[in-house]
Symmetry: C2
Subunit: 199 residues, 2 copies
């Protein structure tokens, strides 16, 4: 790193600490900042600090929010009878891109994993049970990831929530739209067969 | 962007303004910052501002520097008889990665382009002529890019500098090491044939 002036080398190092940014990308980003206006650099710097200073978790669903309730929990147009459970806050954005879901969310902040020592107490499950206990919820869609941990979490939630008199469903697994059977693994094809629907 | 709390949405927007960062990468980076410590965010924010506030151009070679002279111009172990001319400051890092070059540099900050209206006066060519006029330089290696503009700049520099009694050379063009003739375009193959060396 002795090839760059110290502030430039330091910015490259800082960029490299971000996920998916290697040495070459970090250099390109740093030189971009060098060419950009000071105002642009200030905006990015301020945005970084604001994210750390102004955000917290929603009191109801544990999504990221800058006020007590998140965008979805305070939106009166959303269906309050439906909760979609996701592992991480960023999963919500993926579901919202469909523009088809109009219910509420619940963020677990992780998934069950005995291997990594993650037990139910470490996830935001207690709050979910309380929401269902309050009575207005009709269906819980479990949208945890289709991984071993995500599946284990889904099964755990199903057993926990069904006795509370709520419908618990799991998102479908199958061949991704636009893909080809040729590229799908055997478990995915099996899930696609198992989840087949009459036409 | 209504899917995210305002500070998070703004950080995503700021990240997207960086080169090579799309919506998904920007989201991943923003959520990473959200999970990181405030200290980490501060370090990146400060590094961004320092790059704008503490850097200027080297008085001799126009490389990026935080003092009057850049790392290379003030390094007494570098060969002062040799100058490598590059288009942009970041090109120096590419040449330094070889660890084979031990001369000095000169940064043009662009390349000649009648189409984009870039004339010799807009490049740092005057300073280069002055350096050669001072007498200590024996060879100028022109390492501008192998593009139309880079080639035009190389030809221009060659005609300008040779009468000053200095050797002017051009970096070799040919098949990239580790590549395959199959993937090389015709101009590159022609350059490789033309630039062949006796074994």
């Amino acid at each position: 790193m002795a090839d760059f002036a110290e502030p430039l080398a330091r910015l490259i190092t800082e960029f490299k600490r971000l996920p998916g940014i290697g040495q070459k990308s970090a250099q390109r980003l740093a030189f971009h900042v060098l060419r950009a206006s000071r105002e642009d650099a200030e905006h990015l710097a301020q945005a970084l600090l604001d994210v750390k200073d102004r955000l917290g978790l929603c009191r109801i669903c544990y999504n990221i929010t800058e006020s007590e309730l998140c965008l979805f929990c305070r939106d009166l147009n959303r269906d309050p009878k439906l909760i979609c459970v996701v592992e991480e806050p960023h999963n919500i954005a993926g579901i919202e891109t469909t523009r088809q879901y109009n219910g509420l969310y619940h963020v677990l902040h992780g998934s069950l994993s005995p291997l990594r020592g993650v037990s139910p107490e470490q996830l935001k499950i207690k709050g979910l049970v309380e929401r269902i206990g309050a009575g207005a919820i009709e269906e819980v869609i479990v949208a945890t990831n289709p991984t071993v941990e995500g599946e284990a979490t889904a099964v755990y939630l199903s057993k926990l929530l069904k006795p509370l008199g709520v419908k618990v469903s799991r998102i479908a697994m199958g061949i991704p739209v636009g893909s080809d059977l040729e590229f799908a693994d055997e478990v995915t094809i099996w899930k696609a067969l198992e989840g087949r629907r009459e036409m």
